[in-house]
Amino acid sequence: MKNRSLISINDFTKQEQIRILDIAADFEKNPIRKILENNVVATLFFEPSTRTRLSFESAASRLGAKVIGFSSSASSSVSKGESLKDTILTVSNYSDVIVMRHPKDGSARYASEVSPVPVINAGDGANQHPTQTLLDMYSIRKTQGTLDNLNIAFVGDLKYGRTVHSLTMALTQFNTTFHLVSPEELKLPSYVKRHIKEKQLTYHQYTDLMDVIPNADIIYMTRIQRERFSDPIEYEKVKNIYNLENAMLDGAKENMRILHPLPRVNEISTDVDSNPKAYYFQQALNGVFVRQALLATILGAI
């Protein structure tokens, strides 16, 4: 995987994805390893995403790499009208790998085609966010001991949530049974469901969150995002439709864990946080190990 870009999770084979998870597990045991002291990592955030940027920068720092970059377009030459291509070509002179987040769909693929150094996509518009998918896979494997044959419930905005689409696609490699909980207006798009069927797997659709709690190995909660709705009345109707409370978890399986890509709003009550089934903060930490694994692999240090 040396010198390869990661734009979409499908850019890596199943074996390569598992290899990254294995390397991430080594970093979890031994996170501080200065194996990238001679490398420069550029983090170009054309739109702000503090959480993702800090996770990448923490990963780079733990490996001893220098970090350069910007945290919003306003603080870069983009505000002077520079094209994406020019920015990428310039920054590639100063760095060995480019981590980028950009508001336009497809921007990262394009950047990887013009850049002489590898590009890691940290989110391109509503399209892909493959490091999120890898950290979700890592979290599922770590809590369940396997990725195979699990019952995974997705809850909330299944229509617009790219996190859900990418993770669903990735999990179809592991004989997953999908339990899809959403309001009618926010069901999983038909092209994703078609992909599940093509892999001879099954999905079940629900509107009531309680229906999935007894059987799920993972409950993956998502936020219903205001900006996805053109009609504010439609948003008001569904915004608080799901609210997971501690009392609802009594009938859950012992091994069940709750994931959430964060930030959350109301969909998980704070009284769940102290339940051992709550895993979303550890999930965020796992992102650092996965990003260490990616940086080290792509830069050829492992």
Binding site: L84, K104, D105, G106, S107, G125, Q128
Partner: protein
């Protein structure tokens, strides 16, 4: 019947050397002209539309003198005129006749329908993979990964 019809038309406006694109759905004729950039061509071009066709009802036909298209080029028109036939003429004789084929990849000629796609926001040439395994042809953007269906196709 087919050959008789063709001969009749060739007689009206026969070309010595060049290409005839026949069996274009009548409503797609001008789109085909545009896709092949014939509106900017200096070659002698004849075209007709709303002609009677036994097979297809109303059809269009284009004849371009001294022009031999690359198959990649001609296959683009399969997106809008899947029934079209390509006839290569040399010395007033038909030397080759073939059905257009839907290409696997389409570059530059179609706009991505997703307004948030990078190709609609920076100087990036469009590029699509053609999805053929469904009832209708769809183009999947190489960049934003969204699919553009036939009714949303805008040609550049």
């Amino acid at each position: 019947m087919e050959n008789k019809e063709l001969r009749k038309e060739l007689k009206v406006s026969a070309i010595e050397n060049g290409t005839v694109i026949d069996h274009i759905p009548a409503q797609s004729l001008f789109q085909v002209i545009k896709i092949l950039n014939l509106d900017k061509s200096n070659d002698q071009i004849l075209f007709g539309t709303n002609l009677d066709s036994m097979k297809y009802g109303k059809k269009g036909i284009i004849k371009v003198r001294n022009k031999f298209f690359e198959s990649d080029e001609i296959n683009k028109i399969a997106l809008v005129a899947p029934t079209a036939t390509l006839i290569v003429i040399k010395d007033y004789k038909v030397v080759e006749k073939k059905q257009v084929e839907i290409p696997d990849e389409v570059q530059k000629i179609v706009k991505c329908f997703n307004p948030n796609c990078i190709t609609n926001n920076e100087a990036v040439p469009t590029r699509f993979e053609v999805i053929k395994n469904e009832a209708v042809i769809k183009l999947q953007c190489h960049y934003c990964e969204k699919t553009t269906s036939k009714e949303n196709m805008v040609f550049l």
